[in-house]
């Protein structure tokens, strides 16, 4: 197996035939005609329906379940409870690696958070299972819910995010503040948020002996396979997961969740295939969320507006029983130059489900706070917010001192500002009105997200008829992986896309890494690139070593591949088709393999991030506080763009989530019961189309020679960063009122000056 070097282009390939083309969505026709089958669309013969009963308390024990009443209901087949369930091979509370989280799968009668599964009713119909779950009528021994954030006992977590230190220092913040001409201290609060993908978590599980067949949405097939194998004591290869289409994940489908495990257990218990799908309200508990944060900033600036210190202290929360700490401080490490930066954390524990990776984990919450603080400091320095950001432009990564592998942020600022018309912005707030008398404000924010890579593998096959097959277990949650990775696959074999079959979305295929961290295109793409290059290398050896080939003896000059032919690099008049090479050799197919991983040398030498600039216009009704985002312009630089159409959609989506963060999303917890009071899409607001009449995303050209051989950074999450802060800053510019508690709701903008 050959490994393609990550830091140099393949010797045999010339890119560009497919990469960079705005192909339409590969599976688009299937989706719009209802033919794309999502997990819960699968109904194997003999399938039963399982419905979760979930806790209505936040903390305590289940002391009684009326199993007899549920079982007596017509159609109910069985009721799975802590006392009646198949055995597991592994303690679901055990943790053996940082991506492993404790699960609630009926291991005991304890309740650790609201909406925790406490029983599973399995029935012939969904209706019978639903009714059976109601008939369980649980009784509890209830303890007081601990939901008060950020009160409660504070502690310093050992690590935040996956494995970031909870304390990081560069220079002397106290000295930087002491010497500053201007200082800003401000506290920003972000609420608990829930992922709410359109498709709820669901699973259709069928056992055949000790072999397991599953349809379930997963952002990480190989990780899910390993998790299931461990829990059920079977080899990973005995777990077959199909996940070709995912109705959104946003991080919540990255780690295999308790309810999904319960679907498999239920199928084991009854010996028949079982389908289990969460109701919307049940998504507010066992499948992760974004923890609330309270972020305290201390900024110092000199007389010229240069930052002298950034102190960023985050208080966040995890569950009582597991650890995930929203790494909100990370943005302060990378964005603005300062001789002194310190990020620190404290945390409290709440009676909630364990928070998890959600839509730009850390970065989204950190960005809205940092961008607000930067805006406040720009105002304190009487500087235009863009000028202030340019004044504090980081030429090297501030915290590490490393050069950036590439950073076209200046171009993002310039192109975004030009398109938006930023130059006409008055410095003072509350200066602009529209024809209807609404206050108008303009704000901006810097977007950033690290260019990550995980590990992946891929297989490519070139057949005698000149067609190819490329396989990797990639996961498409709507971001366009089928399309973009298919383009990389075609390019890797130097064939037209319609000559290459791209297979993905199954755990039976090589591990494509997770679709998360905005790293899937880079990670899976590099493995595909390597697999195709491996095939072409073997094909080239075959041709060059055969004296009957016009490519014989190309030797060091080498060949390039293009449109199903190999050409001698130094003399393109000498070429031969793949079909001819394979036919003469009498070989039915050539198989190649590729792997990808981060390059430690490049990681050590360079800071790798995508960047962007987002400009927002809002109107605010001065009497009602009613807010409208009338315009969003984002300009992003994220290395090589595989499919501009898909990438633009990703940016749009990210920017919509930024709007959602700034103005809408918020889980409201009842302090008495600890339950989320708005566990539905009627009252857990996300924007509707009418909330965002105009959105533009500019793709700024950027070439990165270091992130990977394809030069790909991530585009999935960066749009939410920058945008949320830009909107918050525009609200200030419209009203002169600085909202520091998010989301910014109407009533927060009705202050004394308006009444």
């Amino acid at each position: 197996m050959s490994e393609t070097p990550l830091t140099q282009a393949s010797a045999h390939l010339r890119h560009g035939a497919n990469i960079g083309q705005s192909l339409t969505r590969h599976e688009g026709a299937l989706k719009v005609t209802g033919q794309a089958r999502y997990a819960a669309d699968h109904h194997p013969a003999g399938m039963l329906h399982a419905v979760l009963a979930v806790s209505s308390i936040a903390r305590g024990r289940v002391i009684a379940l009326d199993v007899a009443a549920a079982k007596a209901h017509p159609g109910v087949v069985d009721v799975m409870t802590p006392a009646h369930k198949p055995p597991l091979a592994q303690d679901p509370d055990e943790k053996t690696h940082p991506f492993m989280f404790r699960l609630d799968v009926l291991q005991n009668d304890r309740v650790r958070y609201p909406n925790q599964p406490i029983a599973v009713v399995i029935a012939e119909t969904l209706e019978a299972a639903t009714e059976g779950a109601v008939l369980l009528a649980p009784r509890y021994e209830t303890e007081p819910a601990r939901t008060d954030f950020p009160a409660g006992a504070h502690f310093t977590p050992a690590l935040v995010g996956v494995a970031d230190p909870a304390e990081a220092h560069h220079g002397d913040v106290e000295a930087g503040l002491a010497g500053a001409a201007r200082r800003l201290e401000a506290i920003y609060e972000t609420p608990a948020q829930y992922h709410n993908p359109m498709e709820p978590h669901g699973i259709v599980a069928a056992w055949e002996g000790d072999t397991l067949f599953i349809d379930t949405p997963s952002q990480g097939l190989a990780m899910a396979q390993a998790r299931i194998a461990g829990l059920f004591g079977i080899p990973p290869a005995a777990v077959h997961i199909r996940s070709p289409y995912i109705g959104g994940g946003f991080g919540s489908k990255g780690v295999f969740s308790g309810p999904q495990v319960l679907g498999i257990m239920a199928a084991r218990l009854v010996g028949r295939p079982v389908k289990l799908v969460l109701r919307r309200g049940q998504m507010f508990g066992p499948v992760g969320h974004r923890a609330p944060t309270r972020q305290s900033f201390r900024l110092g600036a000199d007389n010229a507006g240069a930052l002298t210190a950034i102190g960023h202290h985050t208080v966040t929360a995890s569950s009582q029983h597991d650890d995930f700490f929203e790494p909100a401080g990370g943005v302060s490490h990378t964005l603005y130059a300062s001789p002194a930066i310190a990020t620190t954390y404290e945390a409290v524990r709440l009676d909630t489900g364990t928070p998890l990776f959600m839509r730009a984990p850390g970065k989204a919450a950190g960005s809205i706070a940092l961008e607000s603080a930067i805006d406040e400091m720009a105002h304190a320095c009487a500087m235009d917010p863009l000028a202030f950001r340019l004044k504090n432009y980081a030429e090297v990564e501030p915290m590490s001192g490393k050069p950036f592998s590439s950073k076209a942020l200046r171009a993002c600022y310039a192109q975004g500002a030009e398109r938006f018309g930023w130059a006409k912005r008055p410095l003072a707030p509350r200066q602009m009105r529209d024809a209807a008398g609404m206050l108008v404000g303009w704000g901006m924010g810097t977007a950033t997200f690290p260019a990550l890579m995980f590990q992946a593998q891929a297989r490519a096959v070139l057949r005698a008829d000149g067609t190819g097959v490329v396989e990797t277990g990639a996961q498409d949650m709507g971001q366009g992986a089928w399309t973009a990775l298919g383009q990389i696959a075609a390019d890797s074999l130097a064939l037209d896309p319609d000559r290459v079959e791209f297979r993905a979305g199954s755990s039976d295929l090589p591990d494509a890494g997770i679709a998360g961290g905005s790293a899937h295109t880079a990670t899976a793409g590099m493995a595909i690139h390597g697999a195709g290059a491996d095939v072409i290398a073997r094909l080239a050896e075959l041709a060059m070593g055969d004296e009957r080939s016009p490519l014989h003896g190309a030797g060091n000059a080498g060949v390039i591949a293009r449109a199903g032919r190999l050409f001698r690099r130094d003399d393109e008049s000498r070429s031969e088709s793949y079909v001819a090479i394979l036919a003469r050799a009498g070989i039915p197919a050539i198989e190649g393999h590729g792997k990808s991983a981060t390059d430690p040398a490049a990681q050590a030498a360079y800071a790798m991030h995508a960047h962007g600039a987002v400009f927002a216009e809002v109107t605010v009704d001065p009497d009602l506080g009613q807010l409208r985002v009338t315009r969003l312009v984002g300009a992003f630089a994220a290395g090589r763009i595989i499919n501009p159409r898909m990438v633009q959609s990703q940016y749009y989506g990210g920017m919509v989530w930024g709007l959602s963060f700034a103005l809408h999303e918020q889980a409201v917890i009842d302090p008495r019961s600890g339950r989320p009071m708005n566990a539905n899409l009627g009252e857990y607001h996300v924007p509707v189309n009418a909330d965002l009449p105009s959105i533009e995303a500019i793709l700024v050209e950027e070439h990165d020679a270091h992130v990977n051989a394809l030069g790909i950074k991530g585009v999935g999450e960066i749009g939410i960063t920058g945008t949320a802060g830009a909107i918050a800053n525009a609200v200030w510019h419209a009203t002169g009122m600085r909202a520091r508690r998010f989301p910014i709701t109407l009533d927060k903008l009705i202050g004394p000056q308006d009444n």
Partner: protein, 276 residues
């Protein structure tokens, strides 16, 4: 054991109501969401197959809105001047899918404090017609609404339809809804203002109703009295006019914000009102 019936004629439906007192199901847009997690064993009377209870029509001095008329039906009805508030409400209740299946009468029977349909109907002096085996009776919507999720409908009765008086004098009406997003949103407050005008351009009679500011929507009689005989003028509004409103703090807004917003929306409704 719960039963489900879908009769095609009214007499059968009323007999079932008298016998079993089932839950009445029409559009189902409130019924089903309330029963997702906890479906009690209850008899269901699905009235959607009843004939002749869908078409909105003018009957003499009033508009007849039968119990199966949807918000989309109302939005598509060519309503006379003075009933604009109804057309406006029909476009702002839920999304298009909701409007296509939800009924006005269901909105009234559900009697949510935040029901968007109630303020315009209250301001238009709508009457409800209830039917049972014992006969029919009419009452004002104001009398029908008792409190949150409570109405004067007896278990054996069915809300057959609404009588909305057609304007007798030149009239204008307006509906205003305030929500935290542009569309598909439960209102923070909503209100309707109906004004009849004399030949002199003065308001001869005004009716104002406000929702989501108390256990049920309320008329504002003091404001109505203050507007009578005056030009539509925002300056006529006094804080005391809002006395019938008893808003609460909840996740959609504070009580103080709600009162403030109602005052603003009322001033704007008055400022925008062109005499008919």
């Amino acid at each position: 054991m719960a039963g489900y019936s879908r009769p095609t004629d009214l007499a059968a439906a009323l007999s079932l109501l008298a016998e079993r007192r089932p839950v009445i199901l029409a559009g189902g847009t409130d019924h089903f969401p309330a029963r997702v997690a906890a479906g009690p064993a209850e008899d269901i009377l699905d009235i959607t197959a009843l004939g002749g209870l869908r078409a909105i029509e003018r009957r003499g001095d009033h508009l007849w809105v039968p119990c199966l008329a949807t918000w989309a039906d109302l939005g598509a009805a060519n309503l006379p001047a003075g009933l604009e508030a109804l057309t406006q409400a029909a476009a702002q209740i839920g999304g298009v899918q909701i409007q296509n299946t939800a009924t006005l009468c269901g909105n009234l029977c559900n009697a949510s404090p935040a029901a968007d349909g109630i303020p315009p109907l209250l301001a238009l002096d709508a009457e409800v017609e209830l039917a049972s085996l014992a006969g029919r009776r009419r009452m004002s919507l104001d009398a029908f609404l008792l409190g949150p999720r409570q109405t004067a409908r007896r278990p054996e009765e069915m809300l057959l339809g609404l009588h909305i008086p057609l304007p007798v004098a030149p009239s204008r009406s307006v509906f205003a809804k305030l929500g935290a997003r542009r569309y598909l949103v439960i209102s923070i407050v909503m209100l309707a203002l109906v004004a009849e005008f004399g030949a002199d351009g003065m308001i001869s009679r005004a009716r104002v109703a406000v929702g989501a500011c108390g256990p049920r929507a309320r008329r504002l009689p003091a404001l109505e009295a203050a507007l009578a005989g005056a030009r539509p003028d925002p300056a006529l509004l006094r804080r005391a006019h809002l006395a019938p409103l008893l808003p609460i703090d909840d996740m959609r807004g504070t009580a103080a914000y709600r009162l403030d917003a109602v005052a603003t929306l009322l001033r704007r409704a008055l400022a925008g009102m062109v005499p008919a």
